[in-house]
Amino acid sequence: MDDKMTTQEKITRYAVLIVFAIFFLIPMYVLISTSLKSFSEVSINTMWQLPSSISIEGFKEAFAKLAPNVLNSFYLVIPATLFSAILGSLNGYVLSHWKFKGSDTLFALILFGMFIPYQSILFPLVQFMQTIGLYGSIPGLILVHVVYGLPITTLMFRNYYQDVPDALTEAAKVDGANIFSIYRHIFFPISIPSFVVVFIWQFTNIWNEFLFAVTLTDTQSQPITVALTNLAGSQVVEWNVQMSGAIITALPTLLVYIIFGRYFIKGMLAGSVKG
């Protein structure tokens, strides 16, 4: 279609694309240029200027402060992602190919959990976690993220498995396969792409999550997002350290996005309820 466009149109289009590119890059520019400034160079008056020389002082200090929290986030995100994906896959499998009376209603009831504002369960949740002795711990936070991740992972897998023809399961049944062996030999092998999408989606969401993280942890178990607000909240911390901390917080999910961009977009579109 490009060939039909006049030069003027082309220029306008690129101008629009570039203006928005600048808008999207401004915060990144501020983040990166400030994080690479030395302590002596961080000043409000020069915040829009590039650093005169590149310094990693900010990163060093931010990392020293945030390293335990980065670890906490990994301890949290990896098991929570795995468990919610595995359970979601099984749920999606059953809800798409082993339907029973009321299974669609059940699916709707599961799905509802994805839309609630978490404020509406937050206070009882905190009390409950205290009662079962998991308050303030990473395993507790894992449990919470697995449970509230189930609706979306179930939905993603169900939609994926729905495209698998029923004839396939029926044939396997005739051959004497049961619900588990059909999953293992037919569904699991074909769902690797779907697992990748769900892993990326859950990894990003749990890594970035803040509300549960701030209400269910103590200092020893605080994930990175909470530690970043604490760091940024105390203005005694220099801006180069704060911005370095923000980059450290954003980096893992950004890397996932850069490496697995295609799957990320897939997950995002699937996560938004089928259009």
Binding site: Y75, F83, I86, S137, T215, D218, Q220, A227, S234, V236
Partner: protein, 419 residues
């Protein structure tokens, strides 16, 4: 195959996690869990020095330093409350003396009295008696105060005042004149950073003392002063006048930002608790050289106090070790170890003054002589519900300037949460 692998991996991870988390909770023979929000600046070093001192005296007891960072203690308070409610208290915890302790934990029956211990250790009469009173309920004491800060204090940049021929004010009228003069000269008269709301409430509480006097102010919390006392309204009027002279971007700033504005020579005055003095020292200032201080005008003779205390919760896992901790912080040695580092003054009156800087020495003198009043903004005067309601009232009042509405809200909040 991949399924098995990932399953195995996740189980291994889970086990490893549980192991790590239970490892720290594994009960050793002698330990004591101390809960606080001392995680930054001088306070963290002060706490570490205290722990060191404790270990010198009790080498067999391991201190579990449980801290919760964030929100100037508000995250920690939420965690503590959840643990206390769930019957899982630490051995001892940091709490502001006054309502924050008494109203929340003592009246609800979650604390052990420690009057007997204070007598046994012979320290009861070594403390400022007014401060011990703040943490008492029905004749028993419930916590050991370790440090004291003052909230009704005002700092000023000496050079800025000199350049503009402004004298440190003597009363509210001359204070407002000074502010107006600085305003005309184009500097920020009073720097404020109230993005967290309480710094503005703190100015208001000082003005309440100015108009009500210490007894009237203290009466608001024990029922001797009515919330519709005209002096409350008067304080709101003064507050409104003074707010005309603060920096416009105050709501985007923290108290540290506000102190920095003064440090950079762009503001004349700054009203902030005396932890700001410690911050100015880290910025390179010497007390009395570049900056001066005075009580908020017309609140002289009253010391609005914020005190960190430690108590003994019922059901503490290691009560004997907790008592050892309390004994350590109640000792003159403990107080003189912690306070010079934290930048606060001891709650005991027999501390070694030579360890403190000129500002802190002057604060120690005032502390010994003045009437003590509890701070609202920091939880000592009234329940937390009142504090946040008042924060909201003041926050709205700064924008609307509607004195009568603010006065009405003050009475409403007072009736709902204090009486």
């Amino acid at each position: 195959m991949l399924f098995r692998k990932s399953m195995l991996l996740s189980i291994l991870l889970m086990v490893a996690l549980l192991f790590v988390s239970s490892f720290s909770a594994m009960a050793q023979n002698g330990e004591v869990e101390i809960f606080s929000w001392w995680t930054g600046g001088g306070e963290e070093e002060g706490l570490n020095a205290l722990i060191e001192l404790f270990n010198e005296n009790y080498p067999n007891v391991e201190v579990i330093n449980a801290t919760v960072a964030g929100g100037a203690g508000s995250n920690a308070k939420a965690v503590l409350k959840t643990r206390m409610v769930g019957g899982n208290p630490p051995d001892s915890f940091q709490v502001h003396g006054g309502a924050e302790l008494v109203n929340t934990y003592v009246e609800t029956g979650l604390m052990e009295p420690i009057t007997g211990l204070l007598e046994e250790w012979g320290v009861k009469d070594k403390f400022n008696q007014q401060i011990l009173e703040m943490s008492s309920y029905e004749g028993e004491y419930y916590s050991v105060p370790v440090n004291v800060h003052r909230s009704n204090i005002m700092f000023y940049n000496k050079a800025v005042l000199e350049e503009n021929n402004v004298e440190p004010p003597t009363d509210l009228a001359s204070f407002k004149e000074a502010l107006a003069k600085l305003d005309e000269a184009g500097v920020v008269p009073l720097s404020l950073g109230d993005t967290n709301k309480w710094p503005a409430t703190q100015i208001f509480e000082s003005l309440l003392v100015s108009t009500l006097g210490p007894d009237g102010y203290n009466g608001l919390w024990n029922g001797n002063t009515a919330a519709d006392d005209p002096a409350v309204r008067e304080a709101l009027v003064h507050f409104n006048d003074i707010m005309q002279y603060v920096n416009e971007d105050h709501s985007a700033l923290t108290w540290q930002d506000a102190t920095q504005i003064m440090h950079e020579g762009e503001a004349g005055f700054n009203i902030m608790g005396d932890w700001a003095e410690g911050y100015m020292k880290t910025l390179g200032w010497t007390p009395g050289e570049e900056f001066g201080w005075m009580p908020v005008p017309e609140s002289e003779g009253t010391f609005i106090v914020i005190t960190d205390t430690f108590g003994l919760p019922k059901g503490a896992p290691n009560p004997e070790n907790a008592k050892k901790w309390l004994k350590t912080i109640a000792s003159v040695e403990g107080q003189d170890t912690f306070n010079p580092i934290k930048g606060s003054i001891p709650a005991r009156l027999d501390a070694d003054k030579s360890k403190y800087d000129p500002y802190l020495t002057s604060a120690m003198e005032d502390f010994a002589e003045d009437t003590l009043s509890p701070s609202i903004a920091h939880g000592s005067a009234a329940p937390e519900g009142f504090i946040t309601a008042l924060n909201d009232t003041i926050n709205e009042f700064i924008t609307t300037g509607d004195v009568d509405e603010a006065f009405e809200n003050f009475q409403k909040n007072h009736e709902e949460y204090v009486q």
